[in-house]
Amino acid sequence: MDKLLTFSDVELYYDNVHALKGVSLDMDEGETVALIGANGAGKSSVLRAITGLKRIRSGEIVYQGERIDAREPDEIVRMGIAMVPEGRRVFPYMSVKDNLLMGAFTRIDRTGITATLDMVLDRFPRLKERYSQAAGTMSGGEQQMLVIGRALMARPRLLLLDEPSLGLAPKLVQAIARSIVAINRDAKVSVLLVEQNSRMALRISQRAYALSTGRIALSGRSSEILNDERVRHLYLGGEL
């Protein structure tokens, strides 16, 4: 069976900084895959390479059987890949409504957009309450819900999430984690989750890759990694 997404031997540089050193990974349709590792390990570079924001130097990225590593960001969105960027990045002076509509920017099916909008508002009732408010005036947790909702507006097949728990209180992290599980399960969206909060990421994913200074250091089933003594020590610190 064809993989949903495959990285083969991907190299990526920022000027002279070698950010990805021959990264290979893959994911199946319907999976939630976690990408964990320390700050600067290259997790976000993987996502930037998929979305077309950053060109890779060599290697291949294949999505649904097609090479996508030379495509523009708008083509990637049209192919069904939506991204929730790190640090949330709402459009701060736009209303919640306009932020969500921006998520559907590449779509032209008016009735379909309305249906997705209703679905997103059902999933995050908080956004309905704030519908006309400027996004920049909302709390961090609300903004995180908004950017996830905004990404869902594109009706993606693959959802990329970059550090969705960053800067949120533990209770909100729980809520966001539950939403991600629900989106994966109910909406049949495959999820690639980049997290520094490894514990949360491993709990809600089926498989995981651990990056260390631009290389895949470890991969496997999330539940096994979560219980591995050695990994606990390396990636999960003292928090367990």
Binding site: T51, D74, Y93, L101, F105
Partner: protein, 288 residues
């Protein structure tokens, strides 16, 4: 008093329309378009030619100004600014390019239309007279048209899909790209729209004050004044800046008139003090 306010509103509406174009280009591309005044002058001459010389209806002439400038703006963005922005790592490069475009347009305008002050026949005759107010009908009409265009522009930015895309691009470039907004396409649309606004105001004002090839520079300076007062890159700021400058000018001309031609001296002095207190203008966000 009512007279001063009416003059201020009339002037302010034109100014706001000029400032909107300038601030749109700045917000989308971080480009300070020094050629904005020259685009205004070109728009004026096109309306002069179409309405004054060829005898076409004023609205058609206005449309011709807008469309021509829109096309010129799109070409300037695509052929000049896009290449420079892609290749240059220094932001000053686009400023130098904008200044070059300004001088180039100045030369073209001088070559095509000469150095004479040009006016057109009145678009409507008669004067509105009441106890407090004397206002020629053509000024009322031009003022109303300017307000109409401001309204149309704001509705377009607020409710249309391209308008929303341009606001998104101005607020967070990367996030907008991730939504599928193509930066180069919308930079071109924005630049064309900004140039179009400049051309339309030039066409509007040719009916009142006429046009001559030398006023491009001063108009650019006024546009920058308004944007500095209101705050760069903010729609509300441009409109506020336009009406504030129009009002100050109107008040200045009637109050300070007795002391000679010092209105702009006072405006510049006041602006320096104002900017030292609020460097980002009334509604501006800090740059970067």
């Amino acid at each position: 008093m009512a007279q001063v306010i009416a003059n201020g509103v009339y002037l302010g509406a034109q100014y706001a329309l000029i400032a909107l174009g300038l601030t749109l280009i700045f917000a989308l591309m971080n480009v300070l378009n020094f050629a904005h005044g020259q685009m205004y002058v070109l728009g004026g001459f096109i309306t002069y030619t179409a309405y004054g010389q060829l005898g076409l209806p004023f609205i058609v002439a206005l449309l011709a100004s807008g469309v021509t400038l829109g096309v010129i703006g799109a070409l300037i963005e695509k052929l000049l600014f896009r290449t420079v922005i892609r290749r240059s790592v220094r932001e000053e490069s686009t400023m130098l390019l904008a200044a070059a475009v300004a001088y180039f347009l100045d030369a073209v305008i001088l070559l095509l239309f000469g150095e004479k002050q040009r006016g057109v026949p009145k678009i409507v005759n008669g004067v509105f007279v009441s106890d407090a107010l004397i206002m020629p009908y053509d000024r009322l009409l031009i003022g109303a048209l300017a307000v109409l265009f401001i309204g149309a522009f704001m509705l377009f930015m607020q409710f249309s899909k391209p308008g929303r895309a341009m606001r998104a691009l101005a607020q967070d470039r990367v996030a907008a790209q991730l939504m599928g907004v193509r930066v180069d396409r919308y930079s071109m649309i924005g630049f064309a729209l900004g140039a179009m606004l400049a051309g339309v105001v030039g066409g509007l004002l040719v009916a009142i004050t006429g046009v001559n090839s030398g006023i491009g520079g001063p108009i650019s300076i006024k546009a920058f004044l308004m944007v500095m007062i209101g705050g760069a890159g903010v729609v509300g700021g441009a409109i506020a800046g336009g009406f504030i400058l129009g009002m100050i000018e109107s008040v200045g001309l009637s109050v300070l008139h007795a002391y000679g031609d010092i209105t702009y001296l006072v405006i510049f002095a006041a602006l320096m003090v104002f900017l030292s207190i609020r460097p980002n203008g009334l509604m501006g966000k800090p740059w970067g």
